[in-house]
């Protein structure tokens, strides 16, 4: 199963993720985010339809969080319970803004 990355037409800084964020899809997201981060100072990741996140996906999230730490920041919204559980296990909830 693949992952879909969609930029919201109403808000260029919101990225909607759906499917699985794993070893095969994480590089694609990383590339996409790198392009956005070159100009953006804040970012919202809408995870409503994200089914699974692996360590590779977490690495991309952590890198993005670090890149935006000194700017307006990264916000994760509509995080499913399964994904939130992974954030809890890895201690990511300590520094991520999850809504």
């Amino acid at each position: 199963m693949s992952m879909k990355i969609k930029q919201k037409t109403t808000d260029a800084n919101t990225i909607v993720l759906s499917g699985r964020l794993d070893n095969s899809t994480a590089p694609e997201l990383e590339k996409e985010l790198d392009e956005i981060l070159a100009t953006a100072s804040k970012l919202v990741l809408d995870m409503e339809n994200l089914e699974y996140i692996s360590s590779a996906g977490l690495r991309v999230i952590l890198k993005t969080q670090k890149a935006l730490a000194k700017k307006e920041g990264l916000k994760l919204i509509h995080v499913p319970d399964t994904v939130r559980e992974v954030f809890d296990i890895t201690g990511f909830t300590e520094f991520l803004t999850v809504e």
């Binding site: 360590s55 590779a56 977490l58 890198k63 670090k66 296990i89 201690g91 300590e94």
Partner: protein, 309 residues
Amino acid sequence: MEQTKHTEKYKNQQRVSFFSFLSELPNFFAVLVSAIFSGSLIVWMDFVDSLGNVINAGFVTLLSRKLRRDLKYEYNYGIGKIEAISSLCCNGILIFGLIFMLISSVNELISPKQPSGLLIYVVVLKVINVTIDSYFLAAQYKINKSSRSSISVSQFRTCLKSFSFDTIAIVSLLVCWLFRDFNIVWYFSPVICIALSIFFLAETVVHARESVRILTDRTLPEKDQLQILNVISQFYDRYVDFDFLSSHISGETVYIDLRLIFPEETTFAKIRKLCTDISNAMSKQIENSKVSIVIDAETTEKNTETIKE
């Protein structure tokens, strides 16, 4: 100081292995000739053992010579893999020889032959051989005791195996020669060879598997990958950015490579403390983990301008 100790360790190993190689050569040819003339399976088995010893001693001599240089700057993960390749080559050759011996022994068990009267000369040769074996066993024991390494442990095992094998061979050959006119003794040689072949084969396969395991890098399970991220997240505020370069399992060891980026003004003491804390936290979460951390300074606009100038 440490470099001198390192060099000395491999210098001793090279010396002992080279003498072992030289002393094994006459035995190798003598056993080959004896095996051809006597046709005894025990002597052929001895030939396989001697072949293994010659190759092994030759390999270790060359390897110790190379290892006298401190290779940790050439090979990130030390010299384990070089040792594993050598061990695999030696064990591979031994396995082929032992399988050949096993098949020949079963064949002779089906149609036994009367032992040759020439066996007594082989017994004399073996007595000389055991004396030499005991010298190398003692020398290798000393090396192993003063500076233990995987090469020295494996060499000690080889010396012990040679000594035990030659002692068993003397007894077996004597029995075969003394009672060669009794039909029942005709089965003695193949039976002993089958038992020894199976024993050595099992032992050699275990060592070969261990080498293969060291040579095969495996990916870390997802559970461990998450634990790595858990450790990194614990120190979130103490670095500016990070890259997870790679992680793999080699043998029993888990290698984790990270790249951490710090503000330019961060002191060495702070960086060192963080690296130690990460390594310790990682060891608690993942057994036998070795963490390598590449340190980089944050590239600021000011830095970039300086570089351009």
